[in-house]
Each structure stands twice: as C-alpha cells, then as structure tokens.
Symmetry: C2
Subunit: 447 residues, 2 copies
C-alpha cells in the first residue's frame, strides 16, 4: 500500500499535540516500516497553545471541523477531545460519514460503546481504541489478537498512574493520602480536581472495556462497584507492608462458572506477585489465559507521548488494512454479544485484611475471634504490636489498639456481617478497615 | 468469515500435543469469539505417545505427510518438529505449496528466515512466528503492530526459562551453577544436554528475530556474541546481590546512531528495574520505544500450553485474514531490508562489575586503582569484606581475597585491556570475573 491515507486530529491538548508531532515526525519512517503512508491534514481545535509550543505547522491548524470532516481525503478521524459531550457528537458524525474513528477516550467507550460500536459496523468503518485502556501499553490488541485462543480467566490491572503514584509515595515515604495527593498535584501527576482518578472512576471505565473484550460480553459500567484510594489510612498501608503486602488500586475482572466479578478497589497484593513491583506512575495489567497462564503488560498508561504511540499505532493498523478486518471480529458491544452476567460482589470469596480498633483489655481478642469463628471465618494471621507501657497513659481507662487480622478465603457478605457484629461489642470502635488481599490467580485450568 | 480453514499439525511432542488439544477443545469458542472456524484435520508424526496420553482423536493421527500437505482443505501447516533439518525441508514444501506456515522454531527462523520469508511472500502466503520469541507472550505482535509508530531504541530480554530458573535457584538458595542445573534437570526444566539453553544459543536465536523485527533490518545470527550462564560463580551472584543487583541472562539489542549492539550475556540488573523481579521459569522482555518509553511483557516463554496459545493465536489471525496483510508489512528478511549494522561489542559503553582475586597485602589495591585510572576507568564502588583474623592462617604468605569493583560507564575494550594489565601484577590471580551492569535505559528520546 503506497496510497496516502488522510488523517484529521480533533483536540490538540497534551495527547493531541504529541500525536500530531509523532505522526508528522515519523511519517517517512512509518512508511518505510509498514508501507503505510499517513498524512495528517488537519489539527482541529479552538486553542492552539499546545500546538504552537510543539512548533506544529500552522498550515494544519483549523477551527473549522466541518471542512475537516467533509474532506474526502480524510479517512481517519482522531478524537482527543475527551469527555462524553462533544466527543460523543463528534464520534457519531465521524462514523456516520463512514470514516474510521481512533480515540483514547475510555469514558466515551465505557458509557457509549454500546451505541458507537454497532454504528461503526453499520457504516463499514472501525473504531481504534488501543489508547483507551493502558495508554501506550498494547493491551487491547493483546485481548483481541494475541491471546485470542484463550478463555480469559482473570484480569487484574493497575490502570491509573495518578493513583499508583500516590500509593507509591504513601508506601515509600509513609505519607498520608492528603500529603501524597498534594505531592502528585505539585508534580503535575494529579489534576486540581482529582476525583475521576482517585475515586476509581477512570479505572472503572478501563476495566469495563477490557472485561467486555476479554469475556466477549457487554459489561455494564453502572454495575461495577468502585472504591477509590481516597479513604485509605497510612497506618493500613504500613501494616500491610509489614506483613508482605503492597497496596494498589486494582481494577479486576474474574470469570467464574456462574458469571463474572468486575470491580475497582484498593487491595493488598503479595510482594511475590509481579503487580506489587509496579511503582510510581507506571501501569501494569495481569491477564490470565486458560492456556497461556499468567502474562503481564507494563508501561506508561498515560501522558502525551506514550498515548500518542497507541493512537498512531491504531492509525497505521487501520490504514494498513488489518485492523478493519480485526474490528469486525471483535465481540464487543456489537449486538453480537450478550450482557455479561455480573455477580454481586458480596458473593465473592477472597482473603481480607482487617484492622479493628480494640480496647486493650483481657478477653477482647477472644470475643472478636469467637464472632469470626461463629461466621465460619478462618484466620490466617493476627498481629497486635506491643504498646510501650510509658505511652499507655496513667488513667485507668485503657486506650484502643489496632489489631490486624488476615483471613483465609471468605465470602465478602459473611465478613461484613461479622464486622457489624464485632463493632457492636463495647470494646470495639466503629470504622474498621477492610481491604481485600489478591493472591496469584491459579494458572492452567484444565481445558 | 464462517468458512472452515483446515489445519495440519506436524510434530506431536509436548507443544504439538498441547496445540492439538487447544485447537480441538476451543474450536467452538474460537469460532464464537473471532468468527474463525479452524478445523484440525491431521496430526502428523511417527510417534503418537504424547497424542495418546492427551486422548487426542486417533482418526487424526497419520504418518503420511504427503496426504496432509496435498489436501486442498489444508490452508495452514503448523511446524512443531524443531531443529533445522527436516523442519527446513518441511517449511520449504509448505510455502511452495502456497500454504501458510505457523512455527515456534526460533532456530529455523534465525538460521533460515532470510530464505523462508521471501519464499512465503513469493508464494502469497505468510509465516506466523509469535511462538518463536517468547512462548505465550505476544511479543512478535507487539513489535510489528502495537509499537509500530515507535522507533525501537532497545530490547532487553530474559527469554530462556531454563536459565532464569537456574539463576533464581543460585540467587535464592546460594547454590552453585552445577547444583542448580541438576535441580532444574530433576524438575524437568532443563534438558539432559542443556547446552542450547545454558550456553545462550536459544536466547541468541530469539534476540536475532526480535532485533530484526524491531530495527527493520536483518540481524546476522553469526555476528551475535553469546556468553551463557555456565561459567558463573556463586560468589559473584551473591556479591552482586549484596550490592543491589540481580544476575540474569540478558539478550539485548540496542540501537545507536552508528549501528546496533546485539548480544547475549549474563548481566547484573539493578533491583529497581522490572526485569530484576522476573523469577523462576518466567520470561520477560523490556522494549523501549522512542514515543512509548519503557514497556515490559511478562509470561511463560516455554511449555506446551503457553506455546500452544501463541501457535493457535497465529492460526486464528491467519484464518481471519488480518495476519496475511500484516505479514506483507513486516520488514524482516524479505529482501526489503538491509543488513543491520552490527557493531563490535568491544565498542559498547556500559557499567561493569569486576571481581579481582588479590593478595591481601598493603599497596595492592593502590596498584589496581592506578591501572584503572590510567585507562580512564572511573570507579563507582569498591567492596572488600573483612576476613576474620582467625581464618587468615598462620603462615606468612597472605592468601588472596576478593575485591569487588563496580565501574562507571566504560568502553568494554578499555576495560579488558586494563584487566589484562592488572592480572599481570604479581599480586593478582588470573580469571577475574567481569559482568556488565544494565541500568534502566533512558526513556523518551527527542523525536
């Protein structure tokens, strides 16, 4: 293929600017390496500050979206506007015009994929979305191509660099959540309003897309339970670390015989698990296939240049002709798939970390373990640190001390019922910490 | 696509048996997920012990290769014979017959890819070789598809599970190389004749293929310097560990302005680098793209079921129609590429670990550092442990003690010249250990 394929890029912020720079600077190299000749014809935005700072050619700048979209030479439109308002309108227009859409917009796809994917298919075009799940890491391809012979058993992902940066600071420097967030904001790694990241919403968008791809079934975003990192206590991060665990915000999707569990929550990962090693703003996703076993993919999940790598990769694959074939084969939101059977997270069985605040008096530990035993909850470890006599105070009222417990596998509903009962004991303060523990997923189911 | 695509599998050992089982067991699921209907029609071998142990259907067993190859329904032939003798003859026949070839045979491709790839193109068919570089890890796809917009700056791979298992045993249990090898053989993780693995030859085949793909230039296997793990001393593994490094057999390919360095050698990796975390028989490959930065891919690089995942993935991609398009775009051994400029490894600049055995007498350390200084070699650290007086013996002849040195970046040729001079000193024994140190490769070159 030596034919030129015209590209219009809409939205020239950090990612858009890097994408335009990459397409222009690598135009000849991409042609040499892949035979594909991508020609960036328009950079559409209302603000060209980023574009100018990167010294992109002014001749490409335009505010006139209509001209760009109606140019018959433009076969691929890159949407880097973000959000679900104008981006949705734009995407509809692009697909209805029979042009391919490339996007990094996870919110758009998680909310409106069920509309946009069939629309693409009806109009004989495709949606490239590699950049939506893991920034520059080729995860989407891995799911629809590399691991296609596998039944995917589980996905565990660290897919938000802002959260992982904050958690790494909390682990390594013993910082509080608030201090670590302020540090991330100062370093340009967290937004002024960090809610989308720290509350786990961005991670939910990504696992919604990945789980739908992996299971060949439409996962409903609204039915994904989401907990963020914003309520984590520094002391739990430290206690977990002492016991051999690292805290991570984990977006998970686990297939079972009855259906799947898809959720986002802070969890402890054993230091033996490769995900525990992933520090700072890096992302990584463990994918367990029934034949391949455990695989993991690591890299930069955000940022201009890494995201541009994925966006440009999609443009090459579309222009080269392979992706439009693959897109037709992807069972995701195309009316070909059924809704996924998303199970109630209260039904999940896993291990847990508990921190209870308990009055330091004889008999209290016995009362707690009795309640746990009566609910069939088996303990894996208990840790209560000595409190130096000198700081116990001279009053006759004993203070509360943390008792940290790890359990064997237990149904989450049973655990919460036990904790309610334990917190009714006079000696126990409310507000216990409950954090799941994620062990290595079993490899190699029989097939 | 609902048309059936016939497949013949030749060579039913561990990988062949797992591949046949996967294709048969997942036939319907693969059809549902990808629309592709793969039909395994022949299992060709002379020995069906593995096939029978997996209870594969006897109706597919045949010793008659000609019938399988001449069946017009067979469009894909899977070569899992291994080696470069019969496998080469078979591959030529398959391609000349215009059938697609899928293989896990890195030796075949590293030695004869330059013949086979153009042969495939001339006959309008393709060669699927995902399983040749990282077993089940989708590495080949990542290089020709996911990261296609990148100029690849460097690849560092742990691509031999046998070696990594042996090294992990040496690190964690302080075992000698011989004991760890015996353990690996007992665990079925090393062959009776382990040369191909432990001498680094298998790793050389893999980096030859990956570097050719990454750089879009033909890397010559015969010009890849190879050192294995079979001469490693347990004490160097331990000293390195103490200094914050982990020993790994690293297959590397680094692009520079003047050409590339492609080699295989045991190297120390800083514990901060993700490759240091890869233990046991797992493989992992770090790929640095100029736009995406550092990415890493982890999983099982060998074994029946993981390799079958990659082989079956190639069959799906061929039958689905995307891979034949992609194959034409891959610049590897197709007469489209030039030979890579492979630089003399003596010209490489990197950091090194040295262990010198030196008589424990005043002035010797000064003589050594003087030689190093005269060659412009700058030291990063020196470590000499105290020897307890009690074990120094009562003779007046002082024994030799190890002095461990790490250097700043130095040209390998200069280092070797310095070591020759140092070993000429009366106080220094011959046979110093010299092990390169691989730091995190710089991310984000300007583009």
């Amino acid at each position: 293929m030596s034919q030129r394929v015209g590209v219009a890029l809409v939205g020239c912020g950090t990612v858009g600017g890097s994408t335009a720079a990459l397409l222009l600077d690598q135009e000849e190299k991409i042609h040499q390496r892949s035979g594909v000749h991508l020609e960036l014809r328009y950079i559409v935005d209302k603000n060209f500050d980023v574009a100018r700072s990167l010294e992109l050619p002014e001749t490409l700048f335009t505010e006139d979206l209509d001209t760009a979209l109606s140019d018959p030479e433009v076969q691929i439109v890159i949407e880097l506007v973000g959000g679900t308002g104008f981006a949705l309108e734009l995407s509809r227009r692009v697909l209805k015009a029979g042009k391919h859409l490339v996007t990094a917009n996870k919110a758009l796809l998680a909310h409106h994929g069920a509309e946009l994917f069939p629309l693409a298919e009806q109009n004989g075009c495709s949606i490239g979305f590699e950049a939506s799940c893991g920034g520059g890491i080729p995860l989407v391809r891995t799911l629809y191509d590399g691991l296609m012979a596998n039944t995917i058993d589980a996905i565990y992902g660290i897919v938000n660099g802002t959260c992982n940066y904050i958690l790494t600071e909390m682990i390594e420097k013993g910082q509080s959540y608030d201090d670590a967030l302020a540090q991330a904001q100062a370093d340009g790694l967290a937004e002024a309003d960090p809610t989308l990241d720290v509350a786990g919403i961005d991670s939910a968008h990504k696992i919604c897309i990945m789980a739908s791809l992996a299971f060949g079934a439409t996962v409903d975003l609204d039915r994904i339970p989401v907990a963020g990192i914003n309520r984590l206590q520094a002391e739990d991060v430290a206690y977990g670390n002492e016991m051999g665990y690292v805290i991570k915000l984990i977006a998970s999707a686990v297939q079972t015989n009855r259906g799947c569990f898809v959720r986002v929550e802070p969890a402890f990962i054993s230091m033996d698990h490769p995900l525990a090693w992933v520090g700072g703003s890096f992302n990584a996703v463990s994918i367990y296939g029934h034949a391949v076993g455990h695989t993991m993919y690591y890299g930069r999940g955000a940022g201009g240049s890494p995201t541009a790598s994925a966006v440009a990769g999609d443009c090459i694959a579309i222009a080269g002709g392979a992706y439009p074939i693959q897109f037709k084969q992807i069972n995701i939101w195309q009316g070909k798939t059924k809704p996924a059977t998303q199970l109630d997270p209260a039904e999940i069985h896993q291990r847990y970390y508990l921190r209870l605040m308990v009055q330091d008096k004889p008999g209290n530990l016995g009362r707690i373990t009795t309640v746990l035993g009566s609910k069939g909850i088996s303990l894996s470890s208990i840790m209560q640190h000595e409190i130096p006599e000198s700081i116990q105070g001279d009053s006759n009222e004993p203070g509360s001390v943390p008792i940290v417990i790890t359990t064997h596998r237990v149904k989450e509903a049973d655990l919460h019922s036990a904790i309610r009962e334990i917190e009714n004991l006079a000696a126990v303060q409310p507000g216990s910490a409950v954090i799941p523990i994620i062990d290595e997923h079993p490899e190699f189911r029989e097939f």
